[in-house]
Subunit: 231 residues, 2 copies
DNA sequence: CGAACAATTGATCCTCATCAAACCTTGTGG
DNA sequence: CCACAAGGTTTGATGAGGATCAATTGTTCG
């Protein structure tokens, strides 16, 4: 699959890049395709490349020494990932990137971006904008995890997923993921997620299936996520 | 209190700045002193200024709609805070900054930094380095909160505090904070922190007092923080 | 049809949060 | 200098919220 360099402008960090910038980046890019379950990189690897996903879906996750995982975020087409290494020379990836389905990404040497940014402030700004977004999201999720009850956390994770990768179907918003995925996204276990989903189904908020959830009543889910006096 | 502009080089983001840069920033800076418990800014305020703490201590914290708080980090002298707004025009602070003691900070219009960065890539890089550091720390703390037990989280919070603001005394490392602070830092309650501290004191790891902890056996605390098979 | 894997459900147990009461420590004002 | 107030800390009792484990039931795909 050959990529038109100008397609790279869909990447948020490259929204203000010139055509020349994009061509230059494309020239330095290598395409990498991997199968479901395989990894683009592992936590701890030297962060010599950053990636742009051009097809498929992946997830960023952290693992603790005991092997338990948490999902940091899911990566969709035209999103950049593994870019933290572009800033610190000699850095290592702070998380692992695993394909959720057959996926293809462009790999670009971190130096390339670093060099470009030296003379193109708009690139730095757009990358910083992305970073501040991550910081805010992580801060929020941290607070959530520290202060909110599971049901609400699951509701939030579901809504985040819906905006990130939900597809509107008749009757609601369709999502595709396992209970395990959702559990890792909300800091709980697949059992708890399953119970909560069953309860929601009973209440008519969602329709659950294997690796699939249809949100019938988005407003109802929002009200669980937001409701104040969750005594 | 008048500040020598060159002192600003102690700020990590300004480590590579020229003398002229620093003078320019100093010219645009306003000094603000506040008392213990008061706020430099609140979560949700327009982020028109970034700050550099020049004396005292402060904390960054997030509050949820119900009023529960979590501590994101403590701010020490010559650290920058509230800088996320320097990137996004029209942004609001994602957290509140409260003084832990009488504190003074330089407030600088976000625009100033934004304009400087347009022509000084080293500033952008140093700010990005700071940001990637935050992202990594938040990712780690998020994982901790999702997967580790309280005792270990408290141990980690304690160690983080020790490196950030511990002072070596004979017999150990001395720290100054309330149980409540530590609880907010590790996502638990002051009661649990108190119990854990008592237990550690019984084991000879620490010596606890009012608003004060002396770490007698740092290695012992580390082993609690790291130990694998915390079955 | 069978194997592999996702999901459900029930039973049990454990970690912590919550609430209440008492205790210490520090600083202040009479 | 003592008494008292304010706020930090400790400790106990209790219970809820979820994790964990086990067994069973879908679902999908070769």
């Amino acid at each position: 699959m050959k990529i038109d360099p100008l397609d790279l402008r869909q990447v948020s960090v490259f929204q203000n890049a010139t055509d020349e910038d994009l061509k230059l980046i494309a020239q330095h890019a290598v395409e990498r395709s991997i199968e479901e379950g395989e990894f683009f990189f592992f936590q701890g690897d030297p962060a010599d490349y950053f990636y742009v996903l051009i097809s498929g879906r992946a997830k960023l996750m952290q693992t603790n020494p005991a092997g338990q995982q948490v999902n940091l975020r899911t990566i969709n087409e035209w999103q950049m990932f593994g870019a933290l290494g572009a800033v610190r020379e000699g850095a290592t990836y702070p998380a692992s990137a695993q394909a959720l389905e057959h996926s293809t990404a462009l790999a670009v040497k971190s130096d390339t971006l670093r060099d470009l940014m030296k003379t193109r402030p708009y690139l730095s700004f757009d990358l910083m904008r992305l970073m501040t977004g991550y910081i805010q999201e992580m801060q929020e999720r941290y607070r959530e995890l520290a202060t909110e009850k599971v049901e609400r956390r699951i509701a939030r994770a579901l809504l985040r997923l819906a905006t990130q990768m939900g597809t509107k179907k008749k009757g609601g918003i369709e999502l595709s993921f396992t209970r395990q995925d959702l559990a890792e996204m909300s800091g709980t276990t697949l059992f708890t997620v399953s119970r909560v989903m069953s309860e929601w189904e009973r209440r008519g908020l969602v329709e659950a299936g294997r690796e699939r959830v249809l949100i019938r009543d988005p407003h109802g889910v929002v009200s669980i996520a937001e409701e104040l006096n969750q005594q």
